[in-house]
């Protein structure tokens, strides 16, 4: 084979040259996209002066100051007062003492981060659940005006969601949903469910009906057949859909700014509001952003195996 491959090249196998070019392009692209991420992580480990120094510092002494500032509220005290305090015990206390600050309590970040988790996971679960059963219904049953309904569902994505910001703001205020986690979950679900229905319908369409028919004859009700036979085969699609929904809900900023301010505020609108003494506390912002990236990263890596197959939209089934 190798002896002949130089003369007769396969149409399917890429040549080694094109493979090399492709690899280089992928690496370069990956590096370019990684730079901002890299910079965020680096910034989170700098001291505030280092973070705004010009020219930017590549070599610096890493500090956990940014993370301390992110998780705690601090006040400035006189050196005389600080001298009266018992010695600093935790690493963060030590770092803040050096700047004549004392930690007065935890910041809101943990709460905001938790809100993000609840809202993103909640709306993803709800979107995928509704999407799966709706997609199954559209795929398997005679639904009156099916095509029109599907188009209507798709059309909800034809304008940017923020275009309806004001009506939603007013509606939420009337309904008492402003600044509630349930309100945000419902909102993100409403945006994501159309995507979920369309994606999942494609996946479920590809699962032959005969499997359910076989299961129903084997003594299962349609719902049991759906659970035992359709769902396991739709895993790929469900996972791919969940990741898309998750990414949207996790990263959404505009509605979060508009509709939440306190209790239900997720991390995205909170992080830019971290203001330190004398301006933006960039290391703390960097720290918040770094931590904010982790869940979606973990979620995606955990489900990567399914995603790689799922993202081809069922094209390679069987």
């Amino acid at each position: 084979m190798s002896a002949r491959s130089s003369t007769a090249h396969s149409v399917v196998e890429p040549s080694s040259t094109s493979k090399l070019v492709a690899s280089v392009l992928v690496v370069v692209y990956a590096l370019v996209t990684m730079i901002p991420l890299f910079w965020i992580v680096v910034t989170s480990l700098k001291s505030p002066p280092d973070s705004i120094s010009y020219p930017p510092k590549i070599v610096f002494t890493p500090t956990i100051e940014g993370y301390c500032n992110l998780f705690t509220n601090q006040t400035r005290q006189t050196p005389e007062f600080l001298a009266t305090l018992p010695p600093a015990t935790t690493a963060c206390e030590k770092v803040t003492r050096e700047r004549n600050m004392v930690i007065v309590g935890p910041s809101n970040f943990t709460k905001r981060f938790f809100n993000s988790l609840v809202i993103a996971f909640g709306s993803t679960a709800l979107s995928v659940f509704l999407g799966t059963i709706a997609a199954y219904g559209f795929s398997r049953f005679k639904v009156p005006l099916k095509d029109d309904l599907l188009f209507f569902i798709l059309s909800t994505r034809m304008m940017p969601p923020i275009a309806v910001a004001i009506p939603i703001y007013l509606m939420y205020r009337e309904l008492g949903l402003s600044d509630t986690k349930i309100g945000m979950i419902l909102l993100y679900t409403a945006v994501n469910v159309s995507l979920a229905v369309w994606l999942l319908k494609g996946f479920i369409d590809e699962i032959p009906r005969e499997y359910e028919e076989a299961a129903m004859i084997d003594g299962y009700t349609r719902l049991q057949a759906f659970r035992k036979v359709v769902l396991p085969q739709a895993t790929t699609g469900i996972v791919a859909t969940a990741i898309f929904c998750m990414i949207f809900a996790w990263n959404e900023y505009a509605f979060a700014v508009l509709l939440t301010s306190g209790d239900a505020q997720p991390a995205p609108p909170f992080i830019p509001t971290i203001i330190g003494e004398g301006g933006m506390d960039w290391p703390a912002v960097g720290a918040g952003t770094t931590l904010f990236l982790i869940p979606i990263l973990v979620f995606t890596i955990l489900l990567r195996k399914h995603l790689l197959r799922g993202i081809t939209f069922g094209a390679v089934r069987k």
Binding site: E210, Y211, E213, I217, D218, G219, Q224
Partner: protein, 338 residues
């Protein structure tokens, strides 16, 4: 096992009448084969019995009770699909256990295990139980599909061309196996095929279907020797029956309504002849080994018949054909009995 009675079934899909007024009684322990070409309504009829389709009119009675509107899970029928339809995410073992684990059966795992192993041995896939169902050859998948039906003891087994996607050798083997299993279990089976050999060898009775109608039901022998019309006559027989206008044989004492004469090999006496009394000319001889297919041109009609390889007939020979107790049909294609 139980008796299944279909009466006056109708089913249409839009403008297409898939099933028209079909009535059929499948006796306890009977092996009924529905024979017909693609689109004759055979599969639809099976699906009506299974409950996967609802009839527009008529009833399906299983074991003495009216099951017309009963959902498939409560009908106690087993179905073997043409495309296997093994659950791809399960192993062979899990596929076989699947019907037994259904909530309505509530069987003990130990009993399930025993049954699965028994049937797996019966269809000879017991060495593949831990394989993923999709990682099997076509023949193995087909046997798993049949086994998945056999693990249960339903009122009736419904089989939709279960051997169609196999190669000829395997099909032959499984056919024999299926008949053996049916005899052992005393199973009631409604079986769909367009393969006349399967129909002839498996059936206690054959139902011939044409455009949604059950044209004739009878034992394989009856269907072969006593067809009600030209359509049924052409379903069975290798080579296929030859239809010639009656005018080709002017000397016959045929019934008055007869317009067409149907000739199988056994209805024909062929003799080499001088050119004066000859009616046909051998145009082609196919040698199959134990027998020959003889193609004879009779007044521009091609007659195909079997002949003994020792007959010495060869291309170009002039022959005389004498019908012996042939089948007669009227202008509409219906049988005219002498």
């Amino acid at each position: 096992m139980a008796e299944v009675i279909l009466s006056g079934l109708h089913k249409a899909f839009g403008q297409t009448k898939a099933i028209q007024d079909v009535s059929l009684t499948i006796g306890d322990g009977e092996f009924i084969v529905l024979l017909g070409p693609t689109g004759a309504g055979k599969t639809t009829l099976l699906r009506l019995v299974a409950g996967l389709e609802q009839p527009d009119a008529g009833t399906v009675a299983i074991g003495g009770w009216d099951a017309t509107t009963t959902p498939p899970s409560d009908r106690d029928v087993a179905f073997v699909f043409q495309q296997y339809s093994l659950y791809p995410h399960l192993t062979v073992y899990e596929n076989l256990a699947f019907p037994l684990r259904s909530p309505i059966r509530a069987m003990k795992e130990a009993d399930i295990d025993a049954k699965v192993r028994e049937i797996a041995a019966l269809v000879r896939i017991d060495d593949k139980l831990n394989n993923q169902a999709t990682r099997l050859s076509g023949g193995q998948m087909q046997r798993v599909a049949i086994a998945r039906a056999l693990v249960r003891s339903p009122s009736i087994y419904l089989m939709d061309e279960p051997l169609s996607s196999l190669d000829a050798k395997l099909r032959g083997d499984l056919r024999v196996e299926l008949k053996r299993i049916q005899t052992v279990l005393g199973a009631t089976i409604l079986y769909v095929t367009h393969d006349q050999i399967e129909a002839m060898t498996l059936a206690t009775r054959i139902g011939v279907m044409d455009r949604g109608q059950l044209v004739q039901v009878g034992t394989p022998r009856e269907i072969y020797t006593d067809p009600v019309n030209m359509y049924v006559a052409s379903r069975l027989g290798m080579p296929a029956i030859n239809f010639l206008p009656l005018s080709v044989f002017p000397g016959l004492s045929a019934p008055s309504a007869a317009k067409t004469i149907g000739l199988r090999t056994e209805h024909l006496k062929i003799a080499r002849s001088d050119s004066a009394s000859a009616m046909g000319k051998v145009t082609w001889v196919e040698h199959l080994g134990d027998q020959d297919y003889l193609h004879i041109d009779v007044q521009n009609h091609d007659v195909v018949t079997l002949s003994d390889p020792d007959s010495g007939l060869k291309t170009g020979d002039m022959v005389r054909l004498t019908p012996a107790l042939p089948l007669y049909f009227d202008g509409a294609g219906n049988r005219v009995r002498a």
